[in-house]
């Protein structure tokens, strides 16, 4: 099992979600995060006090999937969230040791 963590631009969340349900991935966890890679922040000015804001708002989309679907999910997510501009984000893949469905107690692939 693999855990996919994708940091994307916030306005691309709906596209990402549609893309995942389009290939049959139902469960998804979304969090609001801040960060930057190569994308520059912006400046704000308040009565002459200038602030450079480096941290940009992003959204992290996380899904747990079987090993055989990794390529499929990465491709779907990439296509959905790509804008061609700096700051599109990154997708990370982790090994997932174990998973449990709380309601039924199913484990492993059945628990996903």
């Amino acid at each position: 099992m693999k855990w996919i963590s994708a940091v994307i631009k916030p306005f691309k969340l709906d596209d990402a979600r549609d893309a995942l349900s389009g290939i049959g991935v139902q469960g998804i966890t979304v969090s609001e995060v801040k960060g930057f890679g190569r994308q520059k922040g912006h400046t704000e000015l308040y009565r002459g006090a200038e602030y450079v804001v480096d941290f940009l708002p992003k959204v992290k989309v996380e899904v747990a999937i079987p090993d055989d679907r990794v390529e499929q999910v990465i491709e779907a997510l990439s296509k959905a969230t790509n804008t061609g501009k700096i700051g599109d984000g990154k997708i990370f893949v982790f090994d997932l040791a174990h998973a449990v469905r709380i309601r039924t107690g199913e484990t492993g692939l059945d628990g996903l």
């Binding site: 000015l45 002459g48 006090a49 602030y51 804001v53």
Partner: protein
């Protein structure tokens, strides 16, 4: 000022009553918009006697004059015993307006100023600013009830302070009238000014002052600074006698608050991490809401300072509107030109600067003069808040000095200029040139600055030595809301 005008009128009437019919015509010529009827109700009844009879006399031709004169003399003789004390007469229109104005001015502090300031501090300190404004409202009210009203508006002692004759509101009853309104109303109206003045200072030391020290500071400051200065200008003290024109509080409120703010921010020192750590306003939405409340409430502040519902009050409202709008657009323009983009905080700050500057001039300047005052305020307060602060390096967190002191000084000096009827103003006092009036204004400004600065410094130093003024570094980082009040402004 209304008191001066009434005195002038009294002197003219005294002359007129000796030569009654001719006297009326002379007065009517001197002041083109002079109207006898409303003036009659303002005069003490004793002086009214001869004038009133003279008016009646105008309607009779010469042949009837002799008979009438004897009747008139008889009437006058009958009424003499009753005319031993000058009686102020209650006017319900004035009273209704002044009750409303009082509410508007209190609204300026809670929640107008509270929101304006709260929005500009970091979210961890939002409540601290609001509770400070609220607590100041309550504390100053109590002090007013005990002795502060008396210090400011009691009987004059050497032109410097009022006596304690009105302490604990002695002599203020349901039917006590001052001018044309109940003294209860005029007293509370003045209280709302005494409340907002210290509340303005909060902006200078926001995000780092101890609540207990704040209360102690405010109690001492209103007693030792506000009370005396209010007395000097409005309560029969030396500045009013000198002829300083301050309609609604350019010196008493804004210069006082602004200079005290500057001294306080210098004594307390900069916020931890200033100016390198970002300290962005946490909610300019609140700030803009507060600014709108301040603008609307300010009609009570300026138009209410006429203490009557009349043309002067109406014009005060007009010039307030004009100056504020001009100042707001001026600040906006400055930002557009010098930074490249206009900002919401800029337009709100400009508006407040205009409101501050027009305050002393509101009963004296005319429409075109008010545009000029607004423009000057927008320009100078912009530079004071945005440039000067960065250059000199003091941490006047919310620009109490930049907006209120600078705006107040600009307004106070320009009042001396734009009161001149050449600029559409109410007209210089008799025998006073424009230069002389500007000089008087400068004296008022300087006296306020010097006394305020010294007194504030002494008060702060004493409090710092005894109870400490500032929270420690750890508390400041954590945030005052949590540390001083065990509360969070937002639990989202």
């Amino acid at each position: 000022m209304k008191q001066d005008e009434t005195k002038e009128m009294k002197n003219s009437i005294k002359g007129a009553s000796k030569n009654s019919i001719r006297g009326i015509f002379c007065i009517a010529k001197q002041k083109r918009d002079f109207c006898v009827a409303p003036f009659l109700k303002q005069l003490p009844v004793r002086e009214m006697g001869s004038l009133h009879l003279s008016c009646w006399a105008l309607r009779i031709n010469r042949s009837g004059l002799k008979t009438f004169s004897s009747v008139a003399l008889l009437m006058f003789a009958i009424t003499i015993p009753a005319l031993t004390v000058a009686a102020d007469e209650l006017n319900s229109g004035d009273t209704a307006w002044m009750i409303t104005a009082t509410a508007l001015v209190l609204f300026m502090t809670i929640p107008g100023l509270s929101l304006f300031y709260a929005g500009m501090v970091r979210s961890k300190n939002a409540l601290s600013v609001m509770i400070q404004c609220f607590a100041i409202t309550c504390l100053v009210t109590l002090l007013w009830a005990f002795y502060l009203y008396s210090l400011a508006f009691g009987d004059d002692v050497a032109g410097v302070i009022g006596n304690l004759g009105k302490a604990f509101m002695k002599g203020v009853a349901i039917d006590t009238v001052k001018g044309t309104i109940p003294e209860s109303v005029s007293s509370i109206f003045q209280l709302t000014f005494a409340i907002i003045t210290p509340a303005l200072i909060v902006g200078a030391f926001a995000e780092r002052m101890k609540f207990s020290a704040l209360l102690a500071f405010i109690a001492l400051w209103v007693t030792l600074v506000y009370g005396p200065v209010a007395h000097w200008v409005w309560g029969g003290g030396w500045l009013g006698t000198l002829g300083v024109l301050d309609f609604a509080g350019g010196t008493v409120v804004h210069i006082n608050a602004g200079i005290a703010g500057l001294v306080a921010c210098l004594v307390l020192g900069k916020r931890r991490g200033y100016p390198n750590t970002p300290m962005r306003p946490h909610s300019l939405v609140l700030t803009l809401v507060g600014a709108g409340m301040l603008w609307v409430g300010w009609f009570g502040f300026n138009a209410g300072s006429e203490l009557a519902a009349d043309g002067v009050a109406g014009m005060a409202m007009l010039v307030t509107q004009y100056a504020t709008a001009t100042a707001a657009l001026t600040w906006l323009l400055c930002e557009w030109v010098f930074h490249g983009k206009p900002s919401a905080l800029g337009i709100a700050s400009g508006a407040v600067a205009g409101l501050v500057a027009i305050t002393p001039a509101s009963g004296f300047a005319g429409p075109m003069g008010s545009l000029a005052i607004g423009f000057a305020a927008g320009l100078l307060c912009y530079f004071a808040s945005v440039r000067l602060k960065r250059i000199v390096g003091y941490d006047d967190s919310l620009d109490a000095f930049g907006v209120h002191a600078v705006g107040g000084i600009v307004g106070a000096i320009l009042t001396g200029v734009f009161v001149d009827s050449a600029f559409g103003g109410k007209g210089l006092a008799e025998g006073v040139t424009l230069g002389a009036q500007v000089w008087k204004q400068s004296v008022g400004v300087l006296a306020t600055i010097v006394y305020d600065a010294i007194a504030t410094l002494i008060i702060l130093r004493i409090l710092d030595a005894t109870m400490g003024l500032r929270v420690n570094e750890e508390q400041e980082t954590e945030g005052l809301d949590l540390v001083l009040h065990d509360e969070a402004g937002y639990n989202l």
